[in-house]
Symmetry: C2
Subunit: 213 residues, 2 copies
Amino acid sequence: MDRTPLSLGRPRAERADAARNREQLLAVAREMVAELGADKVTMDGLAEGAGLGKGTVYRRFGTRAGIFHALLDDDEHAFQREVLAGPPPLGPGASPLERLVAYGRSRIAFLTAHITIVRSALDHHRAVPAEGGSAFTQAHIRMLLGRAGTGVADLDSLTVQLTSALEGPFMIFLALPGTGPEPSAEADAAFERRARPLGDSWQTLVERVCRRA
Amino acid sequence: MDRTPLSLGRPRAERADAARNREQLLAVAREMVAELGADKVTMDGLAEGAGLGKGTVYRRFGTRAGIFHALLDDDEHAFQREVLAGPPPLGPGASPLERLVAYGRSRIAFLTAHITIVRSALDHHRAVPAEGGSAFTQAHIRMLLGRAGTGVADLDSLTVQLTSALEGPFMIFLALPGTGPEPSAEADAAFERRARPLGDSWQTLVERVCRRA
């Protein structure tokens, strides 16, 4: 019985240590991405840059793709916090249509800015990140459509289609030959040019969809 | 010089033979899919069913996924012929909006009916078929939007988003864990239920998008 607090305490201490390692590794990874580009980030380089053992890096991320997966996960959570509790019109306090417009514009900017990291987070067995932000996007769009008074009966199907209209162009880009997990700065730059006008177009789309006859 | 006709003639004869083999193999594969289900179609079973050598089947399709890729390719071409030259409203002769509605409904029915074959055509290195119908879908939607007089300035971006709204739900389904290349009759049946209302929703979407203020 007297060992219980100790056996509970030890994992807690390990978890705190692991969390520090994780934060440190992610901070170093971000620096390396910014300075060298995502393509130059390796498991060994990250271990060296963070002053940690290679074993720690491999245990933490598993594969090189795991580094980018963790970076993306971190940024997704920050993005979602802005949507749920940040200032309007992205956060609460604006009309449903204004929030739909703001969400789409912010999401397009987020996905465009993260395209290299998203691509680097893919592994060869899954060309598209299924667990990505689209579940959150879908839930958020569904909530806003429900409040927008669109007069559309089947909001679930409309939500699936608008979620695809928003995130699909990025999935299609990631599935194109030569723009999957293989790094290509040219492909990413070309995509950024194509993605730029999508925000205006999203606004037109949702404004028309929400307009009753 | 006198060998030229012969050396040109021999590949031609081989090509006719290969085309016959291909037709025969695809016909047998269709029968096997219909009778046994896609999951039961194997390279060896197909060779046996067609009365051809295993070598012929491997040379023709490369992998098991290649069988389904060829089936899908065949059906895609038949579908595209209906759109380009079949009766209205899918084919020419109806208004651009009527054709947009008909195209979306037909495409959803096509993708839903083919979901097992699409899934079986995937290999593990590419979770989403990038070379699928979406280039055709995109070109067709762009043409119809141009004729529909929507009043939208950037039809290219709107086209990308509507193409994603139409085909994206199927890509998302294929990217979900457990619904990728692994066969699952339950997952396909569940998807068919979810896909059924997408046609009505597509009609609402494009009717509203094409409605000028």
